[in-house]
């Protein structure tokens, strides 16, 4: 099969006037490109993050019990989350590239060789979608942001899970089928401006080795891996977009023709069409990825909802109504309503209207699945607004916390902690938040329109309208949430 034919949407291909101009390639940028192509670049990035993780765990377990004064909570809930979404917005999935969990896993795999393959029935995104929802649920239930000790255990649990899963199962099982952070990154990266992609598809047509996916082994012993291929089963010539791509750059190192780059593309452009994707298939047939998308999008609202005053009124009302005085069942009910019932009603209704009104000849569920991906930019916009808020308004808090850590180990080289250092004023950050939300709305509307155009040229507006209404509703809900007074309680039933 021709690589050119299987790559349905080369970067910039569908933008008029851009057909001839080669996309920007990060790997061809002096210094940065040279560094990323260096064989040990990933390890070089992972080592500092691993060391920081270790310090965070030690601080979380043994340091101050007050969250704003502990490195584990400050770095995890203020800086890591904010930096993560901003890098995803401005570049791509570079946090998976620098993932410290994978450094530990790769080290383990020098001695421990997994024997099993992940069960076929579990090769989907249902488990990570459930884990993603569970993380959001635990975050609210246990007030993870307020507990350095629990935060440290989340990090330890993550390391343990990586080692267990990838100790037993081959390839990139944890990243592809388990890791909730990874799935968050994959979905958000569909709206990133960079992707790991083939530079010239024609070169792949002539390639006989397919090293980008197979890797290279020692001719003397098939057990010695000289260069790993793609662990996520993404075959470069047929790869579309950033879904499931960890930016590990194994394919870049493996390609004997130096034909894989980190190329620019239209952000979220990969969601505007539904080509067959290597290692994934068609998005419109992947109910599991659609489910993940729903958790991603509605979870963004739920996560922010848990941080504003009205949530306590709702909980108190539910508590009185149901005569339940424990937080877990009330919170569980809210999660079921917001992550399952509400999306099912909204998207189900929109799919039904699309079929009836626009005459789209697709069944009800596939229509719902297909258009659910249009919500990714909106969800991402909400995550950006929420995490960006904490990141910018708490930007400098890392300084006094670091000063305190150094002082506590008897090495106060940075002086006494300046606890008054906080971050950028709220009045500056708020317009940025609204900008993120607007950006998300624009992206979602654009995707919904393109999908509607593809589905129904004659009645595009009819197919588009129900989804545009949903996008607008989610946008307004996000806007309302971001304008509510923040109210962060680890004891939600208290008031």
């Amino acid at each position: 099969m021709s690589a050119a034919a299987t790559h349905p949407m080369p970067p910039g291909d569908d933008i008029e006037g851009f057909e001839e101009s080669p996309p920007f390639d990060l790997l061809r940028v002096p210094v940065i490109g040279g560094f990323l192509k260096w064989r040990h670049a990933r390890t070089f990035l992972q080592v500092p993050l691993l060391l920081i993780s270790i310090v965070m765990v030690l601080q979380g377990l043994l340091g101050p019990t007050i969250s704003p004064k502990n490195l584990a909570t400050v770095l995890t809930w203020v800086h890591f989350r904010g930096a993560l979404v901003l890098v995803l917005l401005c570049a791509g999935n570079f946090f998976c590239l620098a993932c410290p969990f994978m450094l530990v896993r790769n080290t383990m795999r020098r001695w421990v060789h997994p024997r099993f393959t992940w069960p076929r029935a579990l090769r989907n995104k249902w488990i990570p979608a459930a884990l993603f929802a569970l993380v959001l649920f635990s975050y609210e239930l246990f007030g993870l942001w307020s507990s350095p000790w629990l935060t440290a255990w989340v990090i330890i649990g993550y390391f343990a899970a990586v080692l267990l899963i990838d100790g037993f199962f081959k390839h990139g099982t944890f990243c592809k089928f388990v890791c909730p952070i990874g799935q968050f990154n994959f979905l958000a990266a569909t709206a990133s401006p960079l992707e790991v992609a083939v530079r010239e598809p024609e070169v792949c047509d002539e390639c006989g080795t397919k090293d980008c996916i197979r890797g290279r082994r020692d001719t003397a012993s098939e057990f010695v891996i000289l260069q790993r291929g793609c662990e996520m089963a993404l075959f470069q010539p047929a790869k579309v977009g950033n879904m499931d791509c960890t930016f590990c750059l194994d394919c870049v190192h493996a390609c004997p023709h130096d034909n894989v780059g980190i190329l620019s593309r239209l952000p979220a452009g990969e969601l505007m069409s539904d080509p067959h994707r290597s290692g994934i298939g068609f998005f419109s047939r992947r109910k599991d990825i659609a489910g993940l998308t729903i958790v991603f999008c509605f979870g963004a609202l739920m996560n922010a909802f848990g941080m504003v005053s009205p949530v306590y009124a709702v909980e108190a009302w539910l508590s009185r109504l149901l005569h339940i005085h424990h937080l877990a069942p009330i919170l569980g009910l809210l999660f079921i309503v917001f992550l399952i019932v509400e999306p099912a009603i909204l998207l189900g209704l929109a799919a039904w209207i699309t079929r009836r009104w626009a005459g789209v000849r697709r069944a009800w569920l596939p229509t719902m699945v297909r258009y659910s991906y249009a919500l990714v930019p909106l969800g991402f916009g909400m995550w950006l607004a929420h995490y960006g808020f904490h990141f910018f308004t708490g930007l400098y808090t890392i300084v006094p916390v670091t000063q305190n850590v150094l002082a506590s180990i008897g090495w106060p080289v940075l002086g006494d902690p300046r606890w008054t250092l906080v971050g950028i004023p709220k009045y500056i950050v708020e317009p940025i938040e609204f900008g993120f939300l607007l950006l998300g709305l624009a992206g979602s509307l654009m995707i919904a329109w393109r999908l509607a155009e593809d589905d129904c040229e004659e009645h595009t507006m009819r197919a588009f309208t129900p989804w545009a209404v949903i996008c607008l509703l989610i946008f307004l809900a996000s806007l309302w949430l971001m304008t509510q007074p923040m109210d962060m309680r680890a004891t939600m039933m208290a008031g």
């Binding site: 024997r115 081959k170 291929g229 005053s309 904490h390 008054t420 923040m486 309680r489 004891t491 208290a494």
Partner: protein, 144 residues
């Protein structure tokens, strides 16, 4: 094709690793679960009280602090700085100095500028120069 090529020879049982990971995690859990920051000068009594109740964000709250030694004698001339921190990291702390109104009785005015859970820290410098720190959890500060 890929799974054949990447098939590894079984050399070490991952189960052994599992045992190690679980053991280390359990040990750390038990050890650090018992960890508490020890408070120095336990003999000093610090009795804080906040009024009015319930505490509302955006309006000034008064914190009354009674300071006494082991024999219940009030401690005068102490310097007390009150620090309020949100339970969420990354938020601006608020500070206030407490003034002595009666022997051993101090008062500070603090503005909890956001609803939610707060932690109030009392940084106390005793007349003999020694320093102690106490903590008061203020749950569910309400919006105005």
């Amino acid at each position: 094709m890929k799974s054949f090529l990447l098939r590894s020879r079984p050399r070490t049982a991952p189960g052994r690793c599992t045992g190690c990971i679980v053991s280390v995690c359990l040990a750390a859990f038990v050890i650090t679960g018992c960890h508490r920051v020890s408070a120095s000068s336990e003999s000093i009594s610090v009795q804080p009280r906040i009024s009015p109740q319930p505490v509302h964000a955006g309006s000034s709250s008064t914190i009354h602090i009674q300071l006494a030694n082991a024999s219940a004698q009030p401690i005068s001339h102490a310097q007390i700085t009150v620090e309020g921190d949100m339970s969420h990291p990354g938020m601006a702390p608020v500070f206030a100095d407490a003034a002595e109104t009666l022997p051993g009785s101090y008062q500070a005015h603090i503005n909890f500028n956001m609803p939610g859970d707060w932690i109030v820290l009392f940084h106390i410098k005793l007349p003999d120069g020694s320093r102690i720190e106490r903590q008061l959890d203020v749950k569910g500060v309400q919006s105005n």
